[in-house]
Symmetry: C2
Subunit: 716 residues, 2 copies
């Protein structure tokens, strides 16, 4: 054994400098740190040799990954062999002869990305077959097997059949061409960084590609939805091509967010009217240029007529006109158009209702390579919102869910909010579109309305920080988004556990403790920021910290917290009931009626749908004021609990990440208290009611908090 | 009743503008706000008329005070009358004929400041006699009766005999001639303010005099012990005379702190050698000048050869030479010299031992009008110190206790530390000088060693802030100092209760709640700043906030926290045992042996006398580390408790002071957490031990706290 360990070390030193030295988080969940002997011994028998049937780049990537990983995990490298024997791992496509030999009757795979992992008998023993209809399936299957091994699962008798829930599983990077990242809290853009050469950045890009492939992410939008026309100039397209070539073996397509006015601004035309022939020709020429460089280019993401971005309405046209024009341009190249439904205007109508009102008329009128991208909630990535009523309602148009992985409204990279629980809450929510069981997931994954084109997107939390996400624990959201995009049936607990074991350690007490903290974390943030359906109380523009009082005479009402909380001496909350804005009418029965009645409306959305007096009695018997205050205090207690639990884990992992995370938890508690005091003291100026006597007193002074100003931009 | 109340209002409006409008704290405990009818009714019968036997200014001040007070308290003013009748209050000296009429055999009073308050029978009823050997006794007796009435005591059958414990009961004002106040946290100097004329300031000075007289303070040192020679120039002496004349009716003598080098600096002599004839003549001339202006001038306070101040040793002389020279100069004028024993040098010897070593050799060698002023502890006004070993040891020299009312080391004016408990701890401490019962109080009040000259001083917390002390609740320390100087047998609880009732309200729940908070407050500060005998961990120079880590290469070791805490991997604490500096040897048996043994040393002084390993086991079974951490946490919990208790009192007093105090308690909790985290995290770098798991985690980061810098001077 000594010798084996020695060799492992030597190997590590020779081939894996990235695994040596201080833990930085740079390796994400691909650390492949050596497994405890107890686990490794068994696995070695199953991984004596490796059979690879082809030379295709993707299959080679899979082979390279598994060899490197096993060397590191087990301390031994499977020998490359032509023939299958006991202890072989076979990487093959279903059409390869070897599969027909191993599986009488061969394999039928439903999908180009699907795969199987099977234990098959061979003479004198058994082997593990990882097969896909394409080599992509092999790549995904390989990462699946490695994940199971890192999680200590039994791999002696496997029969796994996997296929993705959504066809397109994308990251959206809000990266600007100048290298900044809108709502980025982990350093500057990894894509548009010009300080280092592409060569110097290659390793980083490969880790990015491997990490995405390991969770099944198959596409990435490389630039901000608030898009500069310049992204389409030739120099930038060259960069896009370089990335596309590097990502291709990992089954990752590149996409671009485009500015609808590009033909005018970049092309010099006097209009960008989608019905103008020259405009259409400009787009056709641009598409041809792109596809000549990148034959498998994914398509365009468009934010049109929203928050000042140009769009078809600027030329008297409609979303339909704009989206379908671009769809026509991309169709010959098999590209798709992702058209965002995030639209609202400072009108009298409830902001939460506008996307629905603006898009429903176009249901069924979009071309078949258009998909409408809808944020999970009707307002904007708040700690908690009800699901967007477009889900389930727009039945003749494919919709894609847009989640936000970066914590724009949940504490940036200073707080832990594990978002799998939030995303599951949305995906599992029942729209009642076709009666019970019409979940948001089924309304978007094709199973409910039979749409061919299915997709899901997450706004990335990735930057140039050494640990990618600015907070080691927030890597889990990148991981969780990918896993749920592949299979929305996975539980948040399982995803957390997988990620913890791969990212930190298999120590069971560490795993269970951190898993508990992660599972509570998002609700904690909701509690100390915006409990009971409150929303958008955050700082002006940068969205950091509490500012329920913000009032700027010149600002759009719907960008100010008062628009949302409506606190006054008479009570608090936004009346979206049938007596108010009637936003409830956008939901199907029985949700509509449930939300419409304060007595049946879920307490965690109560103030989203209702404006209620401070002395309103909740089911608990508490007054609204007391319940609200207790929620804010509960949030702080949760943050303190996280600190305590984390401190118990010292010594179980590397000190570098332990201390970095401990520092983050300190920040989180400080900011939780800041939020609690700010909101409770501010709302108290209206409620005129005391903080329940048994509760700790605020330590902040409202006037002092109001005077705080942060020099933060909305990009890093 | 309506009419009566109406008249009371009218009277208040006509004569008492100071009691009208917002509460500012400016009236201290002399608010005389109207008593509840339930209390007032009874008192009116006892105060129908007022008999005043003389025109002496002090007696008139007493008469004026009681009439103004009763008008305000009862809504009725006693009529002035010549003859004693039922319901008369009589203000007389024991030599007045009226006293002999009322008290067969007359009155014998032991002391010029003593007084009696007696219920005496007169025809058709009874009267209250307030008598002193001098009119000073009358003044003090008058304030005594008013205090009892404001406290709702029964005054129908009084037999009170009072006399002071100390002859000289002084405030020391560390006020600089430029108007700043060293260690002042309540605004600039009330005495050396040149922005307003003496006339404009007169009301303020009268309130100051009345407040002092009401608690028996009979002297005030008008300038900083770090004295400018200029205080003795004629212009400044004119100011001193004005104040002396104003204070005289209230039995308050003025004193000055003098710079020992004055003859050279101010007088232009080439030396200030106390044995030099010209120097002595200069002082004699200066004294003559002073006493010509102020015949009852009290004397000099001298800080010599301490912290850079000049002194006799600069000329090869001794404390004895210096003090006795000045004593000789003042003797003919009946002035006293208060010579401070606060001396220490950056030598190898323990700073806590130096005053004792430097002064003991002179015991019995000082002139009889010299008194040595000794700070309560051997180092410097820390939140907790053992008493100075000079008390009890220096038996042939009168010693005066110096307390610090201003919170130099206890949070300035941002924190509540009610100091009666600390001062009682010192005064009641048994020195064992002549066996059991040799308390510090008895060692200084003449009862133990029979010294004639007795005195006590408190460094004032008074400035030009509207509420005098920068924090409404800190007025209680000014009050408590005076009360204890008069009678050190009073309990801290009684003093607190008296003060609360006069300053705020007679509402019993308010009184008991605030009294409880005040009684716990000093120990809370000790707990979160310097528990278990730790000391001097405060910020460099300004002494604000935690800086246990401060390390300035150029600074005197004995001005740096490390000199005092001595924390290292081996443990923490200053070894003053017989194995260490042997400071314990300066105490009498059995204290010496008790302090010398960690097992018998009081836990609250353990690290003052001992350096112990982190795993040292305390009687509780806790390790030293755990016990220390728990203490720091307990301090924070106490601060939070104060906030909670205070918030329960809203509505029971004026909103102005309620909110100002609530804000201070917020500050206190924030700073308690700051202290706790700073000290625990800093000491943890040595102990390498965890914070007990059940405790809340720190919210601050040590490096961030270390980087905090405050632009604070050591004067306001």
């Amino acid at each position: 054994m000594k010798y084996g360990r020695l060799m492992a070390v030597v190997a590590a030193l020779m081939f894996l400098p990235m695994l040596v030295g201080a833990e930085t988080g740079a390796d994400l969940w691909l650390r492949y740190s050596k497994l405890p002997e107890s686990m490794a011994t068994g696995y070695r028998k199953e991984a004596k040799s490796l059979v690879v049937t082809g030379n295709d780049a993707t299959q080679q990537a899979a082979a390279g990954e598994i060899r490197m990983a096993l060397r590191s995990l087990l301390g031994t490298t499977p020998t490359l062999s032509k023939g299958v024997a006991d202890g072989s791992i076979v990487l093959a496509t279903s059409s390869d002869k070897i599969v027909k030999d191993l599986i009488p009757g061969g394999l039928e795979l439903s999908d180009d990305e699907a795969y199987v992992i099977r234990t098959v008998s061979v003479k004198k023993g058994k082997a593990i077959l990882i097969a896909g209809r394409t080599t992509t399936g092999i790549l995904y299957g390989t990462f699946d097997l490695l994940r199971r091994m890192q999680n200590g699962e039994d791999i002696s008798n496997l029969d796994i059949n996997e296929q993705p829930a959504y066809k397109l599983r994308l990251l959206n990077h809000w990266d600007n061409l100048n290298g900044t990242v809108e709502r980025g809290y982990a350093g500057h853009s990894i894509f548009w960084n010009r300080e280092e050469s592409f060569e110097q950045l290659k390793d980083q890009y490969l880790t990015y590609a491997r990490a995405n492939a390991s969770v099944g992410i198959n596409g990435t939008v490389l630039n901000n939805v608030n898009a500069s026309p310049e992204v389409l100039n030739t120099e930038n397209l060259e960069r896009v091509k370089q990335l596309a070539d590097l990502f291709r073996p990992y089954n990752i397509k590149v996409y671009l967010a485009v500015n609808f006015a590009s033909p005018a601004v970049l092309g010099g035309l006097d209009t960008a009217d989608p019905l103008d022939e020259n405009v259409q020709q400009w787009w056709r020429d641009k598409a041809a240029e792109i596809y000549k460089m990148i034959p498998d280019f994914g398509g365009f993401l468009v934010k049109a007529n929203s928050e000042g971005q140009p769009g078809p309405m600027d030329f008297g046209r409609t979303h339909q006109d704009g989206a379908n024009m671009l769809a026509g341009v991309l169709k010959p190249h098999n590209g798709v158009v992702m058209w965002r439904a995030f639209v609202y205007e400072p009108t009298n109508s409830d902001r939460a209702m506008q996307a629905y009102n603006e898009f429903m008329p176009f249901d069924g009128k979009f071309a078949d390579n258009v998909i409408v991208q809808v944020k999970n909630g009707p307002v904007d990535f708040q700690p908690r919102e009800p699901f967007s009523p477009l889900f389930g309602a727009m039945q003749k148009t494919p919709l894609m869910v847009e989640f936000q992985i970066t914590l724009e409204y949940l504490g940036h990279s200073n707080q832990l909010a594990y978002l799998a629980t939030m995303w599951k809450e949305v995906l599992d929510a029942d729209t009642w579109a076709l009666g019970a069981g019409s979940s948001v997931a089924r309304a978007t994954d094709g199973s409910l309305f039979g749409n061919e084109l299915t997709a899901i997107a997450g706004v990335a939390n990735i930057g140039r920080d050494i640990n990618w996400c600015g907070h080691d624990l927030l890597q889990s959201n990148w991981y969780a988004f990918g896993r749920l995009a592949w299979n929305h049936q996975l539980s948040s607990e399982q995803i957390a556990e997988e990620w913890i074991r791969m990212t930190f350690t298999n120590d069971d007490s560490f795993v269970s403790t951190l898993e508990e903290v992660m599972m509570r974390s998002r609700e904690a943030v909701v509690s100390y920021m915006t409990p009971m359906g409150l929303h958008h109380l955050m700082g002006w523009d940068h969205h950091y910290g509490p500012e329920p009082w913000t009032d700027l005479s010149w600002a759009r009402a719907d960008w100010l917290p008062r628009y949302y909380h409506r606190a006054g001496e008479d009570g608090i909350g936004f009346d979206r009931s049938s007596k108010g804005s009637n936003a409830v009418s956008q939901y199907f029965s029985p949700l509509r009626e449930m939300y419409d009645n304060p007595a049946t409306c879920p307490e965690n959305l109560l103030l989203w749908f209702h404006h209620l007096p401070w002395d309103y009695r909740l089911a608990s018997g508490k007054t609204l004021w007391d319940a609200l205050v207790y929620k804010y205090y509960e949030g702080v207690e949760q943050a303190r609990f996280f600190q305590k639990e984390w401190d118990k884990l010292e010594g179980k992992i590397d000190q570098e990440r332990f201390e970095a995370i401990r520092y983050k938890f300190k920040q989180q508690t400080k900011e939780a208290i800041w939020w609690r005091d700010a909101c409770v003291l501010y709302f108290q100026t209206f409620s005129k009611r005391p903080i329940p006597a048994e509760l700790e007193r605020p330590v902040h002074d409202l006037d002092e908090l109001k005077s705080l100003k942060f020099d933060l931009k909305h990009h890093n």
